[in-house]
């Protein structure tokens, strides 16, 4: 009998069937990957396992025993721990408090033993090489930092099942690698690791078996060894994904956007029609740069050769600079508002006349862009929080496009997006570039940066360290530059 046995599991939401009779069996000791397009039902399945959602029908057996977790606590006590796709750490509390929330060590008097709390946290973080300060307030960490807190928390629960729902989507290379090391170290006969990701290379690196979900149904379970990536893509999205054609760089037009940088090169320049990629490790300062281009932080800036001062994102938008945030939950989504309203939020000036929103025009514009991005939603009027993570990303990407940018700054544009839709987003970026838009592409998926960019700028510790042009960039050199050990780098 399998270690984890799921039979006929279904979950319906009002208006949507997220899971439809899923069967799955997994063994102790394996890393079992779950893949599927956005909205396929992966997260829903994981949430049911973790006791957050209760299933509409079906049965779960753990080591042969039927279980039905009515609360996350019950699941935790049965040894199921989870890293949620969307961070669920409490921003007001410290790293240590978050990690041991609900399981705080106490003294004999029944008071929380703060010293032990911080010591144990320290020990945990050291053991797994997680670069976090136990006393830091979680709300002040970057998304990546918060994700690491979640991971630490999940690891601290002596688990029989460890669920990782897109743990790497917000991590950059060093953290990703560290996580894989951790996973390798954890592998053991009594632990099942369920791993959800859209990054197929990862899956081929660490997974033993793969279960493919489509439209809430299981398509198949296969051993990784028996499969090529292309086959997997076909299984997931039903067709093959084309290879990207590298772009010709635009001829020497004057830069559309210039900004002062610290380090080398000292200036950032992007021309119309050019895609400038940014690479770096977590905290290298790429996002901060992107945010200042969006008018969130002061920066020395020239547009069309003229200096401009941006005091707010509204200013930036007025100049045609559009910023796509990496932190979609905190500063991207209007959680309770509809998909359509989310998509058109930044483009209202062009969609209204005399202060009145032209509802029909708005609906047409929104629907067009979202269809193009293959959005899966039961309706444009559904609250955006009901959407799967990847589909939410498509909505905010759509929002940026609807602004008709002259300069588009994308921070992790494909975070959590499935291969099919990624493909579409790449096409859209290339098309925009062809139309003369200047694009700044910040991404932790190195492949993505390399495949799309005319030039790649590497950052480290808040400073630019090296620029690669055209075909000269390759994975190895960029990585070395990012980590600071390539000869010739500043």
């Amino acid at each position: 009998m399998a270690f984890l046995e799921i039979r006929g599991l279904s979950k319906t939401f009002p208006g949507a069937t997220a899971l439809d009779g899923v069967d799955l069996s997994a063994e102790g000791g394996e890393v079992h990957a779950l893949v599927g397009a956005n909205g396929a039902g992966k997260s829903t399945l994981m949430l049911v396992l973790a006791g957050v959602l209760s299933p509409t029908a079906g049965e779960i057996r753990l080591a042969g025993v039927p279980v039905a977790f009515s609360t996350p606590r019950a699941a935790m006590e049965a040894g199921v721990s989870i890293v949620y796709q969307e961070t669920s750490a409490l921003p007001e509390m410290t790293v240590a408090e978050n990690i041991f929330l609900g399981r705080e060590p106490t003294t004999r008097l029944g008071l929380v033993d703060r010293r032990r709390l911080y010591e144990e946290t320290r020990r945990l973080l050291d053991r797994y090489h997680l670069p976090l300060d136990p006393a830091a307030q979680v709300g002040r960490l970057t998304v990546a930092g918060q994700q690491l807190v979640e991971i630490a928390r999940a690891l601290s629960i002596a688990a029989r099942v460890l669920i990782l729902d897109e743990p790497t989507a917000v991590l950059s290379l060093a953290e990703q690698r560290n996580l894989f090391d951790i996973i390798a170290g954890l592998r053991g006969p009594r632990l099942l690791i369920l791993y959800v990701s859209h990054r197929l290379e990862e899956i081929f690196t660490i997974a033993d078996r793969i279960t493919v979900l489509r439209d809430g149904r299981k398509v198949t379970t296969v051993a990784t060894a028996d499969l090529r990536q292309a086959d997997l893509v076909r299984l997931m999205v039903g067709h093959e994904v084309r290879e990207r054609v590298p772009l010709p760089a635009p001829a020497g037009a004057p830069p559309l956007l210039e900004a002062r940088l610290t380090g080398n090169p000292p200036r950032l320049e992007v021309r119309g029609g050019e895609i400038l990629g940014f690479a770096g490790l977590v905290g290298a300062g790429r996002s901060r740069l992107g945010r200042s281009l969006a008018g969130l932080d002061p920066i020395d800036l020239r547009l069309d050769g003229r200096p401009v001062r941006l005091r707010s994102p509204a200013d930036a938008l007025a100049h045609g600079i559009v910023y796509l945030t990496e932190d979609r939950k905190r500063e991207g989504l209007f959680d309770n508002l509809s998909v359509l309203v989310n998509a058109t939020a930044a483009a209202l000036p062009s969609l209204s006349r005399f202060g009145v929103v032209r509802l029909a025009v708005e609906r047409r514009a929104g629907a067009a862009i979202l269809e193009r991005l293959r959005l899966v939603a039961r309706s444009l009027a559904a609250p955006v929080r009901e959407l799967s993570g990847g589909n939410q990303q498509k909505v905010i990407f759509g929002r940026a496009l609807l602004c008709r940018p002259r300069i588009l700054v994308c921070d992790e544009p494909t975070r959590g997006v499935d291969v099919g839709a990624k493909d579409e987003i790449y096409d859209l970026l290339l098309e925009l570039a062809r139309q003369g838009v200047a694009i700044v592409l910040i991404s932790s998926e190195l492949k993505e940066v390399l495949a799309l960019s005319h030039r790649v700028l590497v950052m480290r510790d808040g400073a630019a360290v090296r620029e690669f042009t055209g075909g000269e960039a390759n994975e190895q050199d960029v990585l070395l530059a990012a980590m600071g050990s390539l000869p010739g780098a500043a």
Partner: protein, 307 residues
């Protein structure tokens, strides 16, 4: 703790320093008066601190206080022998009422503001069905609790200090306290972390109810009679004190010390304005401005309503 969280202490210190210029103010008797006068509000505000930290709100405590004042005085009717029974009655009633509010909160899933707006109205109805005029008399021991002295020190402020210390330790050093913060900081996430959010909420309402009991005893002792309107408006004053003290109305952030400081600030303001013989109409204006000033200095949270 951030710098802005300490605003209330600066405001308090400023008002204290200014007050020190008034000769009458400096008498120890006057200071003891201020502390004693503020005791009931302080206790209610302590209870409300738990509720608000947990991201909830309890508007029913004022009328609950009124009910307890009326019942304590009427049942005791001035007899000292009744002290213990009415103490039990008060605490039982407060805890019971809090438990019911908690239960309704968890079951009905109504916004706590509306829920407790409703229970406030119900409690008011009960008070006035019971009596529409002052009844009974508080026993001497309860009057002593509210107004008396112990070793030359006023009892009520001592009680407040004790309760405040208890509340502080509970909120900062116990698991329950951490869970209150966690639930207030994000209840879905707290639930995902394995916290029984319903139980935390219910407990918090019980604490609020018990604080109304103690507040009611202090009011009963001070007024000496069961005045049915005795609790009116306490709920709002308590909320104002809590938020002025730096607790965010969305929950998850705040402190007991801030609440106590804010209660003192409010009490001092009244006292000082009275001592300065400012006309009560101008007093009203000044009080409003002080509240505005204090919240601007203190800035307990984001730009939200409940922050």
């Amino acid at each position: 703790m951030r710098l802005t969280d300490r605003g209330i202490y600066w405001v308090l210190a400023t008002v204290l320093a200014a007050a020190g210029l008034i000769p009458e103010f400096r008498s120890l008797g006057n200071l003891a008066n201020v502390a004693t006068q503020s005791a009931a509000l302080a206790v209610l505000a302590l209870g409300q601190t738990f509720v608000i930290l947990c991201g909830l709100i309890d508007l029913s405590v004022g009328q609950l206080t009124g009910l307890i004042v009326v019942l304590v005085c009427d049942v005791a009717a001035g007899r000292d022998a009744m002290t213990a029974p009415v103490l039990l009655l008060a605490l039982g009633l407060g805890a019971g009422s809090g438990a019911i509010t908690g239960l309704l909160n968890n079951r009905l899933r109504i916004h706590p503001l509306i829920l407790t707006f409703g229970t406030m109205s119900v409690l008011q109805g009960i008070v006035f069905t019971y009596t529409d005029r002052s009844v009974g008399r508080a026993p001497a021991a309860i009057a002593w609790l509210a107004d008396g002295r112990l070793l030359g020190l006023p009892v009520a402020p001592l009680l407040v200090l004790l309760l405040a210390a208890g509340a502080h330790v509970t909120l900062t050093r116990t698991r329950f306290g951490m869970h209150v913060h966690a639930v207030g900081g994000g209840r879905d996430n707290a639930r995902r972390a394995g916290i029984d959010t319903d139980r935390v909420a219910a407990t918090v309402f019980v604490i609020s109810g018990v604080s109304a009991s103690i507040g009611g005893l202090l009011v009963a002792g001070r007024l000496g009679v069961g005045y049915p309107h005795a609790g009116a408006g306490f709920e709002l004053d308590a909320i104002v004190a809590v938020v002025l003290g730096g607790t965010s109305l969305t929950g998850g952030r705040g402190s007991v010390a801030g609440t106590v400081a804010a209660v003192l600030l409010l009490g001092l303001t009244n006292n000082v304005l009275n001592l300065l013989q400012i006309s009560s109409f101008i007093q009203m204006l000044v009080k409003g401005l002080i509240v505005i000033g204090a919240i601007l200095v203190n800035q307990p949270g984001g730009r939200r309503a409940f922050a």
